[in-house]
Symmetry: C3
Subunit: 206 residues, 3 copies
């Protein structure tokens, strides 16, 4: 419908859209969508982050793929759903909060749209909630290796008022991975000191 | 108190205010307030939507009626409270999220203030949470009948970062009602596929 | 790290930072931080309020102290943590919502930064959630004694879309305390009528 397209600010050239969204796990959904745009003939039309997570401290997501063919839109959603099990792997939570780590050797259009990350370069995402944990993780991450800090989000800027501090880093793939892993160690230790065991949501992948 | 009136941006001509609010059900409260302004000598002074719902994906509400007489303000609140049982009728929820439908043959001042809907015309509200459900419901609604799309809200625009997509429609009363019912069918089917039975909060009224 | 300092907008003169934060109790944390800046050689660098409280209607907090010496930053956090038991004393909650009262005879830099309150004067904070309770408490507070209303926050202005109405008052210490206590009486009565017993989180201190 053209009036809905216009309200949603979707370019009319996309005759089909694929929709991905959930109440929890904005980061895992964006990373999964990034693999989907690499693998299909689609573009990322919108990424919006609700203040959600079912009473948790983070974001839910709404991600819209645009495609000229309905089969491409459907395929993008299928690819993304398959990736989710992996991308939830480095989300660790307990009653005190959660931490999340993401890493890819090559960022594509979803990561670029959501986090303003350079295309084709290694990318790391470091999230700590409550926000105080994220500050500590960020400090560890940038001190561990020579990475470029491309973004910093906190409750009052860059988030939807979530209780998170989030940094995005880019650079050499080895350095980015090393920074992410060091932040994970530090964040998980603190989170577990505050709230007991904080297991992976699925299986760690980084 | 004049300083409080000023901070709250309430016109001093209102010597009395009636206050309606809750942690859940912003839509049902606005619809109930709309009946209250039709039935009493009051005006809608403010409608504010918190990101709330007790860990759910939607909004809580704060609605303020202004009146010159205290009896009018009290009456407005009484009328609104009585309407709530009805206006929660087409709110359906489960662990995955919720959908909400509202319909009136004649929109009054609360609906006009909250949703910018034309006064005196039929009005429909279509809500899906998480937001992805709302996108699908919106698409069904605008394709079902010839209605005017008067608003579109999503996590990043028009909501308080809730995990909802919301559309507001206006037009011929039969067409509006038909669109709302079609969106309800589609939304409830999807919500139940995601999270099991999603019963009405009270008794469906549309 | 200088790039992180810059992203966080922290003056490079602070070689050490102290971090305080939690998922619940923004008010108690700010009041505790206020005692910490009085007692140590630190400054308040940032106070950010997430929309959090573990599914509740209020805010979580991120508070950053800046110091030239690491021992000062650590001491500020220690002092604040010790104060928290007291500052949670006039937080009362049940399933319907919560109310919060804070009072100090002399506001310092944390209260000044968070609430724009005059330094060195008596300060009172009055919070009701859902927001409708806060409107009533505010009305009682400003009618009880001759206090200056220095701020009013509601779901759509001044909060992070929390379901609260919050007022900040200043003035003569006896008047401020009297206003706060009257608002507490009225708010607790209403909250308990809505949701049953609403006990103090620790021990009332005002």
């Amino acid at each position: 419908d053209p009036s809905l397209h216009e309200m949603m600010k979707i370019d009319p050239k996309y005759r089909s859209i694929g929709i991905l969204g959930a109440r929890t796990g904005a980061g895992p959904h964006i990373m999964a969508a990034d693999e989907a745009v690499k693998a299909t003939n689609t573009e990322i039309v919108a990424i919006e982050l609700a203040r959600d997570t079912k009473g948790g401290a983070g974001h839910g997501s709404l991600i819209i793929f645009g495609a000229e063919e309905v089969s491409d839109a459907r395929r993008a959603v299928e690819v993304a759903l398959k990736e989710l099990n992996r991308t939830f792997g480095d989300v660790y939570g307990n009653d005190a909060g959660h931490i999340e780590l993401q890493y890819t050797a090559r960022a594509s259009y979803a990561i670029n749209k959501a986090f303003n990350a350079p295309l084709g370069k290694a990318f790391g995402l470091i999230v700590g909630a409550p926000a105080a944990i994220g500050v500590l993780m960020s400090d560890v991450a940038v001190k561990t290796a020579n990475v470029e800090l491309i973004g910093y989000s906190s409750p009052a800027q860059g988030t939807s008022f979530s209780n998170e501090v989030i940094i995005m880093i880019s650079g050499d793939s080895g350095a980015v991975r090393q920074s992410v892993l060091a932040a994970k160690e530090a964040g998980r230790k603190l989170l577990e000191a505050m709230g007991g065991p904080a297991p992976s949501s699925t299986t760690p992948y980084i």
